[in-house]
């Protein structure tokens, strides 16, 4: 770190380190009704011996351990292995398990993007999301704005995310309103013939797997 600039002082120096320790303030003085209910319910379930604190912790750990890379691995495998792709489209959950991914959801439905149809996922009623495959959903996915607008004006929403399609491409929105959880299988970008399965997986971001982005190709030669 340079200290030679005459404005640089100890105060600034402290700031450089303080940034690493920025504490998020607990906002526990104003519990929402939902938060209060959740805390009370969890305490009662543990007190009655129906669940244990360890089980709650394990589930949180499981949830936090899932990342979009798991979904990306499935996509990359489907791109290089047509038979895997068929199995994945027939039963997404089995296809995930085949790659060693733990799936707690009842069913995973994989929807394939084509040159004629682009698919987008939303859950209007709550925030259903294939957490086992993608981890926790992004903030925009659970926002009321997205949940209401994605079904009403999907093209306008996608445009705000930098994604546009000509009118002869069908935009198909999937409302994840009941028992299925959805994973989008994007189209393999052209010019990726030389890439390994691992490299292919790295092209697939979280948002691709929801239908809000296309695989990254800007790093390709």
């Amino acid at each position: 770190m340079s200290h030679d600039h005459h404005h640089q002082n100890d105060h600034d120096h402290d700031h450089d380190h303080a940034d690493e320790h920025l504490a998020q303030e607990d906002n526990d003085l104003t519990l929402t009704i939902g938060e209060a209910k959740f805390i009370a319910l969890r305490a009662m379930l543990i007190e009655k011996g129906i669940i244990t604190g360890e089980e709650v912790r394990k589930r949180l750990e499981f949830n936090d351990g899932a990342t979009p890379h798991q979904g990306a691995r499935m996509v990359a495998r489907a791109w290089v292995d047509p038979e895997y792709k068929m199995r994945m489209l027939a039963d997404g959950k089995k296809a995930a398990i085949e790659l060693g991914i733990d799936v707690v959801e009842a069913e995973i439905m994989v929807i394939e993007n084509t040159i004629n149809i682009h698919n987008l996922v939303v859950c209007t009623l709550c925030s259903c999301y294939p957490r086992s495959l993608l981890g926790e959903p992004p903030a925009w996915y659970v926002s009321k704005a997205y949940r209401s607008r994605a079904v009403r004006e999907p093209r306008a929403v996608m445009q705000e995310f930098g994604l546009t399609f000509p009118k002869d491409v069908e935009v198909r929105v999937h409302d994840s309103n009941a028992d299925l959880r959805y994973l989008i299988l994007p189209m393999r970008p052209s010019g990726t013939d030389q890439l390994s399965e691992n490299e292919l997986a790295n092209l697939v971001s979280r948002d691709c797997l929801v239908g809000m982005a296309l695989p990254r190709t800007n790093s390709l030669p």
Binding site: E153, A156, V173
Partner: protein
């Protein structure tokens, strides 16, 4: 107790999503009620979440379908493309058949 037979709708069949006015943890959003669509696919049998949500576990599984609707039917002022669609999951008891006459109107 009378139970409806399973798999009564076929893929491609035109259906109307009913508004059965049921309160609570129902999975049929307001915006598709009384709208017509077609059966995209049969998903399988699932325990009714409208019961499970209240601790009534172990009921008879009911058929679940994916229903596809045209966006410009769903939203008369839809801004997008006429080919745009929406698919969602609807349980059997929220669906009814639509006659060819109604369909053509």
């Amino acid at each position: 107790m009378q139970t409806r037979n399973h798999r009564i709708y076929c893929a491609g069949e035109v259906v109307r999503i009913r508004d059965i006015g049921k309160a609570g943890h129902v999975r049929t959003p307001q915006y598709v009620r009384n709208k017509m669509g077609l059966i995209d696919s049969y998903v399988g049998l699932f325990e009714n979440p409208e019961e499970r949500a209240y601790g009534r576990i172990g009921g008879e599984p009911i058929p679940l379908y994916r229903v596809r609707l045209k966006q410009n039917h769903l939203w008369p002022d839809y801004v997008g493309s006429d080919c745009d669609t929406l698919v969602l999951e609807i349980y059997d008891h929220w669906l009814e058949s639509v006659t060819t006459l109604e369909e053509s109107q």
